[in-house]
């Protein structure tokens, strides 16, 4: 990769994209969180933005793992722009149509607030089907 190609792929932040494919088990969540924290280091995010990126990635990966059969792969791609981190999490899916985003759970419902949290911390949350994969994507705003 030439330096200029690197810059083009980095979304203008100078940070190359984060690309990981992990086996779908809940055990990968802390590891992904740590890898993401390493990856964002050059962006020098404040505590709040770092937390938002980690929560968004963690929730989307948790959903993808839950929707996967053991042993399947979940892929995570992050790209950094000066004002946002774009997140894409994909898992294999048997669906053939767009996936509805569920409404916010009742405040004291025992579960079901992961995607709602993602939506509150990010912009442009979308769940789409691409070539037999469910892809969740969004942009987490960060302080430039």
């Amino acid at each position: 990769v030439t330096p200029s190609a690197g810059r083009a792929a980095s979304g203008g932040s100078g940070v190359p994209p984060f690309d990981r494919s992990v086996t779908a088990t809940a055990k990968v969540l802390p590891e992904i969180r740590q890898s993401v924290a390493h990856w964002v280091e050059p962006l020098e995010l404040d505590e709040d933005d770092l937390g938002a990126v980690q929560v968004v990635v963690s929730e989307l990966v948790a959903n993808a793992v839950e929707a996967s059969v053991d042993g399947e792969k979940v892929s995570v791609r992050l790209t950094a722009a000066p004002d946002a981190v774009s997140v894409e999490v994909a898992n294999r899916s048997g669906r053939t149509r767009p996936v509805p985003i569920p409404p916010m759970a009742e405040p004291l419902a025992p579960r079901g607030r992961g995607l709602a949290i993602v939506r509150s911390l990010s912009h442009d949350l979308a769940l789409v089907e691409v070539n037999g994969h469910t892809v969740a994507s969004c942009r987490v705003p960060i302080q430039p």
Partner: protein, 152 residues
């Protein structure tokens, strides 16, 4: 893991002394353990300890309240015989909370409500406050932002 007297529980499998009374000064002699020395973002298994000498029951949390930490918190709270005197959870040393952690907090809120009490969250970081507000959970508990830099 958690006893009914001095409650202590943790998600990992090493390094704790559940039967020992809580250290009156958690920062003392635990510099390698207090969160500031660890790598940013490194997973930190949750440890829950009862705080002695507080006017009401207080559990001090240290570590991540995530899928692994959530059952640690619920076990520690369920080991308390009653929450009728109220319960405070000290979040000063909790860097990360996700939706599993919120679900555990909701379990605690319901448990407290069943005993006629309200849960207090002490020293949450801004992200946790944001999560609580976003989900509407904030109206079901009391948030106490204590001053930072108190040596804890």
């Amino acid at each position: 893991v958690a006893g009914t007297g001095s409650t202590s529980a943790q998600g990992g499998d090493s390094g704790s002394t559940p039967a020992a009374p809580p250290d009156p000064d958690p920062a003392d002699g635990r510099a390698e353990d207090d969160g500031s020395a660890r790598e940013p973002g490194a997973p930190l298994p949750l440890v829950v300890e009862a705080v002695d000498g507080a006017p009401r029951p207080v559990l001090k949390l240290r570590g991540d309240l995530d899928q692994t930490g959530a059952p640690v918190l619920t076990r520690a709270v369920d080991a308390l015989p009653s929450l009728s005197d109220g319960l405070a959870l000290d979040f000063d040393q909790v860097p990360f909370v996700d939706s599993s952690g919120l679900s555990a907090l909701i379990h605690v809120i319901r448990r407290a409500a069943a005993d006629g009490a309200v849960l207090t969250i002490q020293r949450p970081n801004p992200l946790l406050v944001r999560l609580l507000e976003t989900t509407g959970v904030d109206v079901h508990l009391v948030i106490e932002p204590a001053p930072r830099g108190d040596g804890a």
